[in-house]
Symmetry: C2
Subunit: 365 residues, 2 copies
């Protein structure tokens, strides 16, 4: 790998975590705890190069680790610390390789931080990109798998010391199914290492520059707060996001099903949307936004709830009755909108047979 | 290993499967399908040495494979054929060893046949002994683990091609928990390879000579049938079993819970027990026999249901209303009756806090 790119510093971690929370579209787990854990590692002297996609070569192995499980649990059950490196070591040993860099499978939420922590511990870099450009509730909902990435070996590790290796797996749905249930056994959260990938494959299939995008979003939020500007407005002005609804939560339903947080939120309109009602469907992440019964935003586009007054991005597990929200949308990357991708991450794949994906572009006020 | 022992021949497989079914105490899965699979392999020219415990040395690695799952499912969902060798290969590769012989973790039921099939395919021998001397519903209920055997690496393989390796596992209960749920994912049956063991450890901890015992029981049953003698009486005369009840099933309840077949059977007495009522508690295997409310037989002793007229050993999944049974008991081996063992496989461990283990010896008519 060349020396292009830049160095991720301790001061970038907080913006990264804020941007990651926003890109999490309500899910992906709260990155704040990951930020604190990453900061600990950086304070012990780590520096992490951020490597642009274009400098990756076939000779580079890229490792991928991420948390798997229910966000509502990971807010209370913390990592022991080296789950990521133990899971990664298991897949490296299975293949007889060492990875040269880490990548996030999911920039949205806590999984933005995990590869940073693992890279910092191992003294290697992270790739500026990820496999979703957002968060999705299942492992296979990732460009690396949509575009033909390997399924095994993968490994999961828990905080107790258990390491399970998925040595041969017939397809990604089987890995998701088996790893998800073992995660439930492990206490609903664990760290998953996916099969290391060749650099040239990552170059073609990763959603590009999403680490940089997350840091930029986070800095925008922090800058607006510092200047006492309206955060929602600033984010819409400076990050390419569009405003789709403002309202107050009048009903929120949530239940844990097989390791997922499912539910829906009902919002009563405020400001420009006074008199309107919105509904947001949730499976860990925000999946679909209806305004007055009309679906106006849907997966794979990003649906993000910001607290109306503070601009704080809200994960679905902290939504509660009476909260005032701005619902903003960000367009998904083109890699998520191909026919092949929509089969896995389009609205129909999430159980909405009547919804045909209608891209965000040009729809917002 | 020395050349002591004997060769298991095709003609021994049917008796072995009948004896294994009887030692299965109602569970362990029906060995008949395993018998047919083993016979196929033997007809392709395999011979399998049966190796007595006393000739094992520290230099010998002994492999252990067995089916895991709900017997009621394994009667309909057959193995693809090489699950056992694929699971074993995964643990061998993890340790960088090759096993010299196979052993059954559980002589009772289908798992009597699996190591025979794997040994026949690999051209190695089987050890004359096992880890239970019967069947038990959970992986950790085995002398190898009760007396300090390793927990990892273990591996499970399914008929679809999935292989999952338990590389680091903190204890046997975690292996049981994770492997059991992944087995449910895999369709409720799979093949499990447990950590290979050193020969000297197996020598000290295995229940001895149980392959020979199973073949002897099976031959006794077949001989009695051929001579048109009463099979139940012959088994009681020639195998050390004792008769505890004869009766007709008046009620049978069964349900699948997390991969286990649980339930209970109520019997109305016949012959010497006319006017009495018996109850048998089931968790895959027969756990406790009560006669007129008094617990007369309990784990770890063996409680076996034979069809009254034919002497056929009945697995719990084929019990049905109106069936006429002889309930016989066989004493558990001393290795199963130590304080340490009873903590894992005594009646209290199976959810009967009021029952203190009361050994079979001297209790029957």
């Amino acid at each position: 790998m060349s020396d292009k790119g830049y160095i991720l510093k301790e001061a970038d971690l907080h913006p990264l975590s804020i941007g990651a929370a926003l890109l999490g579209t309500g899910g992906g787990g709260n990155p704040y705890i990951g930020f604190l854990r990453a900061r600990e590692v950086f304070r012990q002297g780590a520096t992490v190069p951020v490597i642009p996609l274009e400098v990756l070569t076939q000779d580079d192995w890229v490792g991928e680790v991420g948390g798997i499980g229910a966000p509502v649990v990971s807010a209370e059950k913390f990592e022991q610390g080296d789950e990521g490196t133990r899971a990664l070591a298991a897949v490296e040993s299975e293949l007889g390789i060492e990875v040269a860099a880490m990548i996030s499978g999911e920039i949205g939420g806590a999984n933005a931080m995990e590869p940073v922590i693992t890279a910092a511990k191992l003294g290697i870099g992270i790739v500026d990109g990820d496999g979703m450009g957002r968060a999705f509730p299942e492992v296979q909902m990732c460009t690396f798998f949509i575009y033909g990435g390997g399924v095994a070996p993968a490994a999961i590790a828990d905080e107790k010391g258990n390491v399970v290796v998925y040595k041969h797996v017939i397809d990604m749905f089987w890995l998701e199914r088996m790893a998800r249930h073992t995660t439930v056994d492990m206490g609903a959260t664990a760290m998953l290492a996916l099969p290391p990938m060749r650099g040239d494959f990552v170059q073609k299939t990763a959603v590009p520059a999403t680490v940089t995008q997350a840091v930029h979003i986070g800095r925008t939020v922090l800058k607006a707060r510092k200047a006492r500007k309206n955060v929602v407005e600033t984010v819409v002005e400076e990050t390419g996001a569009k405003l789709f609804f403002t309202g107050k939560i009048t009903d929120i339903r949530r239940h844990l099903v097989g390791g997922f947080a499912r539910g829906e939120a009902i919002l009563s309109g405020l400001g420009d949307w006074a008199g309107s009602e919105a509904k947001i469907a949730i499976q860990n992440e925000n999946l679909v936004l209806w305004v007055d019964g009309v679906p106006v935003l849907m997966v794979p586009d990003l649906i993000v709830n910001l607290e109306l007054d503070t601009g704080e991005p809200l994960t679905t597990e902290v939504l509660r009755y009476g909260q005032r929200l701005a619902v903003i949308g960000l367009p998904a990357h083109d890699l998520l909108k191909t026919e092949k991708a929509l089969e896995i991450i389009g609205p129909k794949a999430f159980g909405y047979p009547d919804l045909t994906y209608n891209p965000l572009e040009g729809k917002a006020k």
